[in-house]
Amino acid sequence: MSTKLSSPRPGNPQPGDTSNGTGTNVVSAKPVTWRTPVLLTVFGLIALVFFGLLAPHQTASFGISTGEDFFQLPALAVNAFAGGIVLSVLLLGLAAYALFLKTKDRPAPGWLTVTFIVLFVAAFLIWVVGGARTPSISLAGLIAGSVTLAVPLVFGSLSGVLCERVGVVNIAIEGQLLGGAFTAAIVASMTQNPFIGLLAAAVAGAVVSMVLAVFSIKYLVNQIIVGVVLNVLVSGVTGFLFSTVMQEDSDQFNSPPGLDIIEIPVLSSIPIIGPILFRQSLVGYLMYIAVLVVWVGLFKTRWGLRVRAVGEHPQAADTLGINVNATRFWNVTLGGAVAGIGGSFFTLVAIDSFTKEISGGRGFIALAALIFGRWNPIGAFFAALLFGFADNLQSIVTIIGTPVPSQFMAMLPYLVTVLAVAGLVGKSRGPAASGIPYVKG
């Protein structure tokens, strides 16, 4: 409301805050709520009780180096009880600071929430590992595995960013991933060339997206309906062709040559960072490039400004001579291509054949990552990493045997997303015109 802008509160972030690229969290002139400080306190107390006071007196050890590193670091050993207490006290300190800021009518800054999440995850990790039968895991392996599992999520959420920033809700990420996975498998098998498969995956994702674009932009069908239905359609078509074509002759149609892991010499031997950044498949490297390109494109270029204008206020953009619907169409198509590349990860990198529903709902986690990352490519990237981490941790804790049932670990990303949309990380607000078709005149 413009009337409120006339009397800005002293401590509120000014519009200038958007310069760092996180343009969505302008909470201009809204009163600071108790929600974030209170939630932080609650989580701090949970950490103190469970991860601190009730923690087992066992030493959790975290291996940092892998055998291939050129120098070995000693494993990090933490007493679970002491570690839990220290971290939860830190968490409560952060919560207290947020409460203090609230009494001054100032919102908790972004770094505070991020630090809180990181510390909370660390406390959780120490607690889980400390309570395990074999209280020892490889931190390097855990993180590297998380990045690998996050690859399709990152591509999916980038697709979501590209679509939603231009004002089209993309529920069809799941379908785009699945379409990409299928096409990559079948084309790479037929041509015996994974690179052509990768390209075909991008095209397939774009085609799925074009259907979304045509129906939502030209025929003004509700975007969520189209997205939901497209997921079913792609699942049906790929399932049908899998049963009729691929299973009939899997040698010819479903044995794609994989994309190999490319190690960059020397750099890949740096502990922890090496495997994450320099020991990836082509799709993994593309992921880093895509995140940076989309971020720079959206926030530092003329194209990005136009895209965001269309997503926030299409009428204004139109008045300035931007073709709203064409911009939307091509952006949505581009988003689909990005998700398609992410889909190729399933069949060209992770597993070397296609099976029904191979994307297994990861498109929806990507959607969650997009929201958790506040419609920002970098934010979405880290959110996807967090979800990949939860996914990877789930399989690791089953191996080392912890008291936490693996189903609860699997539930975590979704719970975290519910908390996120319900306001833990501040009000996450999407582009204003997202989901609303634009009709000229």
Partner: protein, 457 residues
């Protein structure tokens, strides 16, 4: 001095015009809802576009396109979807592939092969879902139809839940999770408690409905309190429910004794729906309850104050708020009722069809319910009919796969295409050449106008 007035007056007039324009939009929405509530039995052109309050195209034009296109378009949409599905079947048929190698020498062979492949599959689909002339007795001949009704039961009730939420402007993707939570509670009451006949089944039903209503109402509560988007919430709640179920099925309280698979004990005989037409069919009491639920939802939407409030909120939440309707309360209530309806599907599954709780209790009924509600244009009886149609597809597809080898997935393709086409009537009309002729010049004129105003309009 005197000429100071006219400009001021003009400015005042301009601003008052702007003021008048804004309420006008709300007025039309109010008029729409009042109109549909009073007498005129036509389905209100409400929702689906949950946040449609600010649709630049005007909410009713778009929504009319989605939900109140003519019945003709629905029929044509089904036809078109079947044709495309048929082409997909033909494209992977072996006979078609062989004849296509000499298509130019003898095109009739090719066409005959296509026709054969498609009709064989669709006839099998029909025989598997409606009437099987090769049955030994009349009872056997109608067995497919009974199977259709059995499968349609959870589709109808969950579809009603989705449809009801649509009408209140909410996108309930969460039927899947609501079915699961309902299934958990209903199954537990069914196998853990041992109660007399009648009371036991009633408790199972009540537990299931409460479970679904709780899971749905929770979404409504979060949406009303925090403004979180219900689409995201319901998707997340689906997964949370699924993993919770998987966890429970590995605990002693839910896992069948002496079993390593995640499967619950069988429900007590006192806790399951009786089979309506005898033990030869799986059709159970749940189907009659689904009919009752349809009547109930019809009454709720068209005859009750609460239903009127739901539709008013769906048509324009701001106008509804202004008119004194408690939008938060409506949101929570409609999601709880929608969850309760989906909960009936969960009960139908555990107490009717399956008689046991597994992690596949919801199958894909929750997601199919969305397409059912969309095909039924969010009206109670439309949803009922759509549930029957999709139930028939599901039942028939099993037979089709056995008889002709056409994979079940073709049903997903046809279902989703139907919904896509129904949502875009202009496309269907264009395909069948039914678009009114005068539309073209009108559109050209619109473009010309846009060109002359330089996009500033």
């Amino acid at each position: 001095m005197s000429d100071k007035h006219p400009p001021k007056h003009a400015a005042e007039e301009g601003s008052s015009k702007a003021h008048r324009a804004a309420p006008a939009a709300e007025e039309t929405a109010a008029v729409v809802s009042v109109d549909t509530a009073g007498g005129a039995m036509e389905p209100s052109a409400v929702p689906a576009t949950a946040q449609s309050g600010q649709l630049p195209g005007g909410p009713d034009t778009l929504l009319r396109k989605i939900f109140t296109g003519s019945g003709m378009v629905s029929v044509l949409a089904v036809l078109l979807a079947l044709i495309i599905g048929g082409l997909l079947i033909a494209s992977t048929d072996k006979q078609v592939a062989t004849t296509s190698t000499y298509i130019f020498a003898r095109p009739t062979d090719f066409l005959a092969a296509v026709w054969n492949a498609v009709t064989r599959s669709y006839i099998a689909l029909f025989q598997g879902s409606v009437f099987n002339p090769r049955g030994n007795s009349v009872a056997a001949q109608f067995a497919p139809f009974m199977e259709t009704l059995t499968i349609a039961t959870p589709l109808i009730t969950a579809g009603l839940g989705v449809a009801l939420a649509f009408r209140a402007g909410l996108f309930n993707i969460g039927a899947q999770g609501q079915i699961i939570v309902a299934g958990i509670l209903a199954a537990w009451v069914g196998f853990a408690l041992h109660l007399p006949l009648g009371l036991h089944l009633l408790l199972v039903l009540v537990a299931g409905v409460i479970g679904g209503a709780f899971w749905g109402g929770l979404v409504g509560l979060l949406k009303a309190r925090t403004g979180a988007h219900e689409v995201i919430l319901t998707i997340m709640f689906n997964y949370i429910a699924l993993y919770f179920l998987r966890y429970l099925l590995n605990t002693p309280a839910f896992q069948r004794p002496g079993e390593t698979n995640p499967i619950s004990p069988i429900l007590d005989p006192t806790a399951v729906y009786p089979q309506i037409f005898g033990t030869q069919y799986r059709l159970h009491l749940g189907f009659l309850l689904a009919i009752a639920a349809t009547v109930l939802v019809w009454w709720l939407l068209n005859r009750s104050t609460v239903g009127f409030e739901f539709r008013a909120v769906g048509a324009n939440p701001k106008a509804a708020q202004t008119a004194g309707i408690n939008v938060s309360r409506s949101t929570i209530l409609v999601m709880a009722i929608a969850g309760g309806l989906a909960g009936m599907s969960g009960v139908a599954q555990v107490a009717g069809t399956e008689k046991v709780l597994t992690d596949g209790v919801a199958a894909t009924y929750g997601f199919d319910a969305i397409t059912v509600a969309l095909l039924g244009r969010s009206t109670p009886w439309g949803t009922f009919a759509a549930g029957l149609l999709f139930g028939a597809f599901r039942a028939g597809a099993v037979q089709m796969q056995i008889q002709t080898g056409t994979p079940i997935d073709i049903v997903l393709v046809v279902q989703s295409l139907i919904v896509l086409f129904i949502a875009a009537p202009p496309l269907v009309r264009a395909v069948f050449g039914l678009n009114p002729r005068r539309k073209k010049p009108a559109r050209a004129a619109k473009f010309r106008q846009a060109a002359t105003t330089g996009g500033a309009a």
